[in-house]
C-alpha cells in the first residue's frame, strides 16, 4: 500500500517536469526555432543570405548599412545646425528601421522615467488615504490590453478626440497627434512609467533614513545629502526599470501599429507587415535579428537585476502627509497628480465616453452595432460575441496550462540542483521573445503543419492561439510564485520531511498552501494576459475564426472608431470582472 503510493509520489515530480518541458518545447522553443531556421536555412542548406541582405539594407539599418560599404559616411554625413549665433555640424544619419525602433524606445524610456520618478517620490515619501491602492494600481497598465490602450489614445488624441473637442470649445486650433512619434512615446510611457514608479518607490522605501541623517550630521545640506546618499541608492532601481522599459518599447507592437501605422513602423510592425505580404523569409530574418538584440538586452537586465536583489531591514524615513499647508513641495506634487490623471485616466475615460457619444450626443448605437453585427456578419467579418466567447474560452484554457506550468517552474527555480540557472533563464525566455515572433513560429510550425514520425501534424488556429497565450502567461505565474516559495523557511520543509512526508506531499501540504496568494495573483495575471494578448493572436487568427476581442478591436479601428471603442469597453469590463472573480475565488483560501 505504502510502497505503491511512494512510487507514484516519487514519480510525480519528474513526470510533471517532463510534461512541462515537452509543452515548452512544442509551444515555444520549436516554433521560435522554426522562425530562426527560416532565416538561416533555405532549400535544405544553411545560408546567411537573408540575414546579410537585411543587415546590408539601408532601409533596415540606415547609416550602419551604408557604412558597411563605405565607412566614410560616418564622418561625412554631417549637416550644419544653427543654434542661435553658432553653427554646429551634427550627424545627419538615416536611422533605418532598427535605428528608428531603438530611437523611439529610447525616447519612450526617457518619457517613462520623467513621468515615473515623480510618482515614485509621491508613493515613497508621502502619506495619503488610498496610497496602497494607488500602489497596487501601478501594476494594472502591465496587464492592460495594448490594443485597448491604443483605442483609448485614439479616442483622446485623435482627429475628433476629446483633446480636440476641448481645444475647439475654448477656441484654439485643433492638433493632429495621431500617426506622430510623440503619441507613440506617450502611450509607451502610459505603460512603463508606473513600472518605473513602482520599482523606484520600492527602492526608496528601503533606503535607511539613518544614511541621510548621518550625512546631515556630518554637515551636508538636505539637497546634498539627497544627492550624495539617497540618489545612489535609487539609481540601480531606476536603471533596472529603464532597461525593462527599453525592452518593452523596443518590442512594442499593437501601440505602434494602431497609433503609428506603417509610416512609423518599428521592427515588430514590419515583421507583421511582411507576414501579411506572405514574405516569410524577410519576416524571419528581421525577427531573428530582433530576437538576438532583445535576448541580449534581457540577459543584461537579468544579470543586473540579480545583483540588486538584497533584503534590508532598513528604517525608512517617515512619510510626509500629502494634505497640509501648501508649500512648494506639495504644489509640485499636486501638479504632477494633475499630469498623471491626464495621462493615465483620460485615455480610458475617453474610450468610455467615445463609445456612447455619437454625432448627435449620447447614443448606444455602437453597442447595438456589435449585437446586430453578430447576426448579420458575413463569413469574412468578425462576429463580436464570438470574439468575446473566444477570448473567455482561450483565457480559461491558457490558465489551465499556464498555472501548473508556472508553478512547477517556480518550484524548480527555488530548488538547488545543477542546471537550475538554465531552467531559470529558459523559463523566463518568453519575456524576451516578441509575441509576433511566437505567433509567426506557431503559424509556420504548427498551423501550417510539421512532419514528424511519418505523420503530418497540424493544429487548428484556436489551439495555436491558446499555446501562444499560455507561453505569454506562465512567466507571470512563475514570477508571482517563486519569490514567495523562496521565503519559506527551509526548516519548515525539513520538519515535514522528518514527520514522514514525501517530497510531493511537502509541496502539496506545506509549500503550495503558503504561496496560494501568489498562485491566485499569477492566475489573474495569466488570464488578463490571455484576454489582452494581441501580437501573436492577430497573426494566428488571420483568415480563421479564432479571433479574440483585441483582434476585433483592431479590425474595427480601420473602419469606424465607435464600434472599436465599444468593443474596447467590453474588453475592459471582461478583463476587470475576470480579474476580480479570480481574486475573489482566491480569497480566504490563501494566506
Amino acid at each position: 500500500m505504502r510502497g505503491t503510493r511512494d512510487r507514484v509520489e516519487s514519480a510525480a515530480l519528474p513526470l510533471a517536469a517532463v510534461v512541462t518541458i515537452s509543452l515548452l518545447v512544442v509551444m515555444f522553443f520549436y516554433p521560435v526555432g522554426r522562425v530562426l531556421s527560416e532565416a538561416v536555412w533555405i532549400d535544405g542548406a544553411p545560408t546567411a543570405e537573408p540575414l546579410l541582405e537585411v543587415l546590408a539594407d539601408p532601409f533596415f539599418f540606415g547609416v550602419l548599412a551604408e557604412a558597411a560599404a563605405d565607412p566614410s559616411v560616418l564622418w561625412t554625413a554631417f549637416r550644419p545646425h544653427q543654434f542661435g549665433p553658432v553653427t554646429v555640424p551634427l550627424p545627419d544619419y538615416r536611422l533605418g528601421l532598427f535605428g528608428f525602433t531603438a530611437y523611439q524606445a529610447l525616447l519612450s524610456t526617457l518619457a517613462s522615467i520623467a513621468l515615473g520618478l515623480p510618482g515614485a517620490y509621491v508613493l515613497a515619501r508621502f502619506e495619503f488615504p488610498g496610497r496602497e491602492t494607488v500602489r497596487s494600481l501601478t501594476a494594472v497598465p502591465f496587464v492592460m490590453p495594448s490594443i485597448m490602450v491604443a483605442i483609448g489614445f485614439i479616442a483622446t488624441f485623435g482627429r475628433n478626440g476629446v483633446l480636440n473637442g476641448v481645444l475647439t470649445a475654448v477656441g484654439l486650433p485643433r492638433v493632429e497627434l495621431l500617426y506622430t512619434l510623440p503619441i507613440i512615446v506617450l502611450a509607451h510611457a502610459f505603460y512603463d512609467a508606473p513600472l518605473i514608479a513602482r520599482v523606484t518607490a520600492t527602492a526608496w522605501e528601503s533606503v535607511d533614513a539613518g544614511t541621510a541623517e548621518t550625512a546631515r550630521s556630518l554637515g551636508a545640506s538636505p539637497q546634498r545629502a539627497f544627492l550624495d546618499v539617497v540618489v545612489p541608492q535609487l539609481l540601480p532601481a531606476i536603471l533596472t526599470g529603464a532597461l525593462l522599459t527599453f525592452i518593452f518599447s523596443f518590442m512594442s507592437f499593437a501601440i505602434v501599429l494602431a497609433l503609428g501605422g506603417l509610416s512609423l513602423a518599428t521592427v515588430e510592425v514590419w515583421v507583421y507587415h511582411r507576414v501579411q505580404q506572405l514574405d516569410y523569409t524577410t519576416a524571419s530574418a528581421l525577427a531573428t535579428l530582433e530576437m538576438v538584440f532583445s535576448l541580449l538586452l534581457t540577459y543584461a537586465y537579468l544579470r543586473y537585476e540579480a545583483r540588486q536583489r538584497a533584503e534590508s531591514a532598513a528604517r525608512p524615513a517617515p512619510r510626509k502627509p500629502l494634505f497640509g499647508r501648501l508649500n512648494l513641495d506639495r504644489l509640485a506634487v499636486w501638479g504632477y497628480v494633475g499630469v498623471a490623471i491626464v495621462v493615465f485616466v483620460t485615455p480610458i475615460a475617453s474610450m468610455l465616453l467615445a463609445s456612447v457619444t455619437g454625432p448627435t450626443g449620447f447614443t448606444l448605437d455602437y453597442y447595438r452595432f456589435l449585437i446586430d453585427r453578430q447576426a448579420t456578419a458575413a463569413s469574412f467579418q468578425i462576429k463580436p460575441l464570438t470574439a468575446v466567447r473566444n477570448s473567455l474560452l482561450y483565457g480559461a484554457a491558457s490558465l489551465a496550462i499556464a498555472v501548473p506550468m508556472g508553478v512547477l517552474l517556480a518550484v524548480a527555480s527555488t530548488r538547488e540542483f545543477r542546471g537550475r540557472k538554465l531552467v531559470d533563464t529558459l523559463s523566463m525566455a518568453p519575456f524576451a521573445v516578441s509575441g509576433v515572433v511566437v505567433g509567426l513560429g506557431l503559424l509556420q510550425g504548427l498551423v501550417f503543419g510539421t512532419q514528424a514520425f511519418g505523420y503530418r501534424i497540424t493544429v487548428s488556429g484556436a489551439v495555436a492561439v491558446v499555446a501562444a497565450h499560455a507561453v505569454g502567461a506562465y512567466p507571470f505565474v512563475t514570477r508571482n510564485v517563486a519569490p514567495l516559495l523562496a521565503t519559506i523557511d527551509r526548516s519548515v520543509v525539513e520538519s515535514a520531511r522528518t514527520l514522514g512526508a514525501s517530497r510531493v506531499r511537502v509541496l502539496l501540504d506545506i509549500e503550495l498552501p503558503q504561496v496560494f496568494a501568489g498562485v491566485v495573483a499569477g492566475a489573474a495575471f495569466a488570464f488578463a494576459i490571455s484576454i489582452g494578448e494581441f501580437d501573436s493572436t492577430v497573426i494566428l487568427a488571420s483568415g480563421s475564426s479564432a479571433y479574440t476581442m483585441p483582434v476585433a478591436i483592431e479590425r474595427f479601428i480601420g473602419r469606424r472608431l465607435g464600434p472599436a471603442t465599444a468593443m474596447g469597453c467590453v474588453l475592459l469590463v471582461v478583463t476587470a470582472v475576470s480579474f476580480l472573480v479570480i481574486d475573489r475565488l482566491g480569497d480566504g483560501r490563501g494566506m
Binding site: 519548515v492 525539513e494 520538519s495 520531511r497 522528518t498 514527520l499 514522514g500 506545506i510
Partner: protein, 350 residues
C-alpha cells in the same frame, strides 16, 4: 527507542570539509548533547542522523542497522529547529497532527487523542485551535516539540531549539524538555553552542571543534577533566599554562612555565593525566579560576589585577601574570596586586 552509532562520518560541501570522521555512540534513551562553537559541525552531525544531510563517507546505524540509505521521511526521527518551523497555514492541533498522516499514533490512540495527549504534555491544553502566529516564542517551540513527538519517534533531534528565546524562558523550557525526555525515555540528541546549557541538561556530551569530536563524556568528566586545550577553554573558564617538565616525584610533575622571561617559575601539578611525561617533555595544564586563591599554600605567583565583574555572590577578576591573562573568581571585588596560588591536585594536565 534506539541506540545511535556514527562511524567515521565525513561531510564535505565542495571544497569545505564540515565533518572529518566523526564517530559517536548515543545510548538508548540517553540525552546526548553536541556542543561547540558555530561552524564546528554539530548541526551537520545532527542533520546526518536525521537523514537531512547525506554523509560523504561513513555510516549511521540505528540499533546496529545501517540507515545511511534510509530517506529522511522513513527514519522515524523527530526534529525541532531553532526557527520552530511551524506550518503557518495550520492551527496548533493541525501542526501536531501532521506527522500522524504518515504513521499510526502509538498505543492504539486515535489521532485526536494523541494530539490532546501531546498538548497536555507540553502544557498547551486548550490551545489546539490557535494559529501559530498567535503564540509566544516559547509556546511555538513547545508546539514544535509536540509535533516532533506526536508520531512517537525513535530519536528526538533538537537543533539549537532555544537560541531565539530570552535567558529566563530558556532555562524554564530546557527543564521542561529534560522532564519530557525522561518521561518518554526517547533517545535525544541536542545541539547547542552554549556550554553551560550542555552541562546542565546532558547525560553525556560531545565537545566538537573544526568538524571533529574533541571529547565525549558526562558533564562532570568533561568539566573536571578536559582532554584538550580546546575543551579546557571552551567548557567553563580556565587558566591555561604550558611549559617543560623539569622533574617528577611521587604523583606530581614539576613544570617550568616557559617564556624566557625573568619571571619564569616552576609549578607542581598532580600527574593524573593519561600520558606519562618524561623530564624535558612539553606539557600543558589548566587551573579553574575558582581554584586560584590567595589562601592556597602552594604554587603562588603575583597577579596584577584589572577589570572586575561582580556577578552576584561571586566576582570574576581579570588579571595578568608574566604576560598571560589570569582569570580569578573571588567572593568580592579586589584591586591592585594579589598573590594567588593553587593546590597541585586542582590542576588538570591536558
Amino acid at each position: 527507542m534506539v541506540r545511535i552509532e556514527l562511524e567515521g562520518v565525513q561531510k564535505a560541501f565542495g571544497e569545505a570539509v564540515a565533518l572529518e570522521g566523526v564517530s559517536l555512540t548515543v545510548e538508548d534513551g540517553e540525552f546526548f548533547t553536541l556542543v561547540g562553537p558555530s561552524g564546528c559541525g554539530k548541526t551537520t552531525t545532527l542533520r546526518t542522523i536525521a537523514g537531512l544531510s547525506d554523509p560523504t563517507a561513513g555510516t549511521v546505524r540505528f540499533d546496529g542497522e545501517d540507515v545511511s540509505d534510509v530517506p529522511v521521511e522513513d527514519r522515524n526521527v523527530g526534529v525541532v529547529f531553532q526557527s520552530y518551523a511551524l506550518f503557518p497555514h495550520m492551527t496548533v492541533a493541525e501542526n501536531i497532527r501532521y506527522g500522524l498522516r504518515f504513521s499510526e499514533p502509538p498505543r492504539d490512540l486515535s489521532a485526536d487523542e494523541r494530539v490532546q495527549e501531546l498538548l497536555e504534555l507540553v502544557d498547551l491544553a486548550g490551545m489546539g485551535d490557535r494559529d501559530p502566529d498567535e503564540l509566544s516564542g516559547g509556546q511555538q517551540q513547545r508546539v514544535a516539540l509536540a509535533r516532533a513527538l506526536a508520531p512517537a519517534p525513535d530519536v528526538l533531534l533538537l537543533d539549537e531549539p532555544m537560541s531565539a528565546l530570552d535567558a529566563r524562558l530558556r532555562e524554564q523550557l530546557r527543564r521542561e524538555i529534560k522532564r519530557i525526555q525522561q518521561e518518554l525515555g526517547v533517545t535525544t540528541v541536542y545541539v547547542t553552542h552554549d556550554q553551560e546549557e550542555a552541562l546542565a541538561v546532558s547525560d553525556r556530551l560531545a565537545v566538537m571543534a573544526d568538524g571533529a569530536v574533541e571529547q565525549v563524556g558526562t558533564p562532570v568528566e568533561v568539566y573536571e577533566g578536559p582532554a584538550t586545550e580546546f575543551v579546557a577553554s571552551f567548557v567553563g573558564e580556565n587558566n591555561l599554562f604550558s611549559g617543560t617538565v623539569t622533574g617528577r616525584d611521587e604523583e606530581e610533575l614539576v613544570v617550568d612555565v616557559a617564556g624566557g622571561s625573568s619571571e619564569d617559575r616552576t609549578f607542581r601539578v598532580a600527574d593524573d593525566g593519561p600520558t606519562t611525561y618524561e623530564t624535558g617533555a612539553d606539557v600543558s595544564f589548566c587551573v579553574r579560576p575558582r581554584d586560584l586563591s590567595p589562601e592556597a599554600g602552594e604554587n603562588r605567583f603575583p597577579v596584577t589585577l584589572g577589570t572586575a565583574e561582580y556577578l552576584g555572590g561571586t566576582t570574576r577578576i581579570y588579571g595578568e601574570w608574566a604576560g598571560r591573562e589570569i582569570v580569578l573568581r573571588l567572593p568580592e571585588p579586589v584591586s591592585g596586586d594579589l598573590t594567588v596560588g593553587f593546590e597541585p591536585g586542582d590542576a588538570t594536565v591536558l
